[in-house]
């Protein structure tokens, strides 16, 4: 590596670190992303300059076409995606990075033409193939679950942990074989194939609600796979950038699971679905009755309240109802009703997701309150209007130690004088657990699509 190259890569690494630093404060976040992007352009651009005399004819072709296709797919995907589908898009962009890391390692091993790699190359190669493969397949499955191409509920079967354990053991055996016995291409292919299977098997038993944590973890994994490819290629830019992501991603995974009040092992291996299957959501729902209200009644109730706290959830995001909810809030404010929004840390599908959606609808920043700031105020609120949220207001998290969400911090909606739920149906939330608050005498339900219900409420408030 020439001195100039080393300096460019160093500059890129510094820009990545500054970028990450800015990204963790609200004021500098956007600039942080741009700073990191500049670092990336420098590193990639310089690499192209460096390679200018080394390109084979085929090399030029695949690099040009490949970058063009990747840029179009990336830009169009990122621009077109609805704000609500952001989490699965991040999963997808993460997965392809993991896949690329695995392929780079495979290509490098193939150059040995079957000879056994020395430990210095072999170990990071195998690591990049296995971890990159897991990240690719796991992210693809996370995408499928969040995009609802398949069920978001955990998929479990007897002996699942044992099967996954055996799979991991087989991968380990093959990895040792590569390092100690053979450099045959067949072995790499099988190794990559098994890593892909393990990636799928690993994410299958994890429920959709926990997917953000899984995506964050896979993000950290891809970072480490990239760092490993850096060792294979003897390139410190890859090592430093990949490791930065691996380390910060691991910490972020922990912060996220802390925000949900769960441990990482519980999320990954707890098989969330198993627990509630025993508790049964159906039986309880049949026995108790629910009070469904009309939009007119509820509109009048809202119009003559002193204070209303709106609790937006994923249902609001899905229905693209952020604009409708703001219209209702504006209308109520004009009538002198005090309106605030209570934002649960994991409202929507990822931490911070709901803030982004409401900001998109120009909801004033001062009206958004974080959970700890608003929980004391529900006691004073006349109405808590829950729009498409369920698990984050479920008192079971506070009251019933047997519940799988027990211990998760929730919004104390049950302390408000009355509670209005806008929900599509009685279907339980993402975690799949019944919510006793729905059957509380002070709760009124308004069934239907969140956006339509809100539009009806707007009309009702206008008429009141």
């Amino acid at each position: 590596m020439t001195i100039a190259t080393a300096f460019v890569y160093l500059l890129a690494a510094v820009l990545f670190i500054i970028g990450l630093k800015f990204l963790s404060s609200p004021r500098g976040a956007r600039r942080g992303n741009q700073v990191a992007a500049v670092g990336m352009v420098l590193a990639v651009g310089w690499t192209v300059v460096l390679l200018r005399d080394a390109f084979t004819p085929a090399g030029i072709a695949i690099c040009t076409v490949g970058v063009a296709i990747g840029s179009i797919v990336g830009t169009v995907g990122a621009r077109r995606v609805h704000m609500t589908a952001m989490p699965q898009m991040v999963a997808l962009f993460n997965g392809v990075g993991g896949g690329a890391a695995a392929l780079v390692a495979v290509s490098e091993l193939l150059k040995l033409a079957g000879a056994r790699p020395d430990f210095q190359t072999g170990f990071p190669s195998v690591f990049a193939i296995v971890i990159g493969g897991i990240s690719f397949a796991g992210s693809a499955l996370a995408f499928a679950k969040l995009q609802e191409l398949m069920t978001g509920t955990p998929i479990t079967y007897p002996g699942q942990q044992v099967v996954n354990g055996l799979l991991a053991l087989a991968i380990l055996t093959l990895a040792v074989a590569v390092l100690a016995v053979t450099g045959s291409a067949v072995v790499f292919a099988v190794l990559l194939g098994m890593a892909l299977v393990l990636g799928v098997a690993f994410v299958l038993p994890i429920g959709g609600a926990d997917m953000p944590v899984v995506i964050s973890l896979l993000n950290a994994c891809t970072g480490l796979a990239v760092a490993a490819s850096g060792f294979v290629l003897d390139n410190f830019a890859l090592i430093v950038a990949g490791t930065l992501v691996g380390a910060s991603g691991s910490l972020l995974t922990k912060l996220m699971s802390d925000a949900m009040g769960r441990s990482i092992t519980n999320i990954l291996f707890g098989a969330f679905g198993q627990v509630q299957a025993g508790l049964g959501s159906g039986a309880a729902a049949d026995a108790k009755s629910v009070r469904a209200g009309s939009a007119d009644d509820i509109g009048t109730m809202l119009a003559y309240s002193r204070s209303v706290i709106i609790v937006p959830g994923y249902g609001l995001a899905v229905a693209q109802a952020q604009h409708a909810v703001r219209e209702l809030a504006d209308l109520l404010e004009k009538r002198g009703v005090e309106v605030t929004y209570a934002i649960h840390p994991v409202a929507g599908r990822m931490p911070g997701h709901m803030n982004v959606l409401l900001a998109e609808a120009n909801v004033p920043y001062e009206q958004l309150r974080e959970m700890d700031a608003i929980n004391g105020e529900f006691k004073r609120a006349d109405v808590a209007l829950v729009v498409g949220a369920n698990d984050v207001v479920n008192p079971a998290a506070r009251n019933s130690p047997g519940s799988p969400i027990y211990g998760m911090p929730i919004l104390n909606v049950d302390e408000a004088h009355s509670v209005v739920f806008l929900k599509r149906s009685m279907r339980p939330g993402f975690a799949g657990i019944d919510n006793e608050l729905l059957y509380d005498p002070k709760t009124v339900m308004l069934f239907g699509d969140a956006k339509e219900s809100l539009t009806r409420l707007v009309a009702a408030v206008k008429a009141a």
Binding site: L20, S24, C63, M83, V226, I239, L244, A247
Partner: protein, 95 residues
């Protein structure tokens, strides 16, 4: 083990600490954008993909190199653009 390898391992070890330190105090609302932003940074694998693809000669190398470049570029470009879109919203509400 060569001295050079030890130097590489040193980079790795130091980067672990920097990675932990740099995001130690991040508010919940920035978790998603931060994840997305760091996701874009591991797109640096594009450098690796280019190094591999540039020398491709056999059909197998060409296919692997091509796929790696496409995947890595998607990671980089998509990652930065999607993060910027998220953060655009944060700026908007301050005006």
């Amino acid at each position: 083990m060569t001295e050079h390898l030890v130097v590489l391992i040193t980079y790795f070890a130091l980067a672990v600490f920097v990675g932990f330190e740099v995001i130690s105090k991040v508010p919940t609302i920035l978790h998603t954008p931060l994840m997305s932003g760091s996701n874009a940074i591991h797109g640096i694998i594009l450098v690796g993909a280019l190094l591999i693809a540039a020398h491709a000669q056999t059909p197998l190398e060409i296919v692997l190199g091509f796929v790696a470049v496409v995947l890595a570029t998607t990671n980089v470009v998509g990652g930065f653009v999607v993060t910027d879109r998220m953060l655009e919203m944060f700026k908007g509400r301050r005006q």
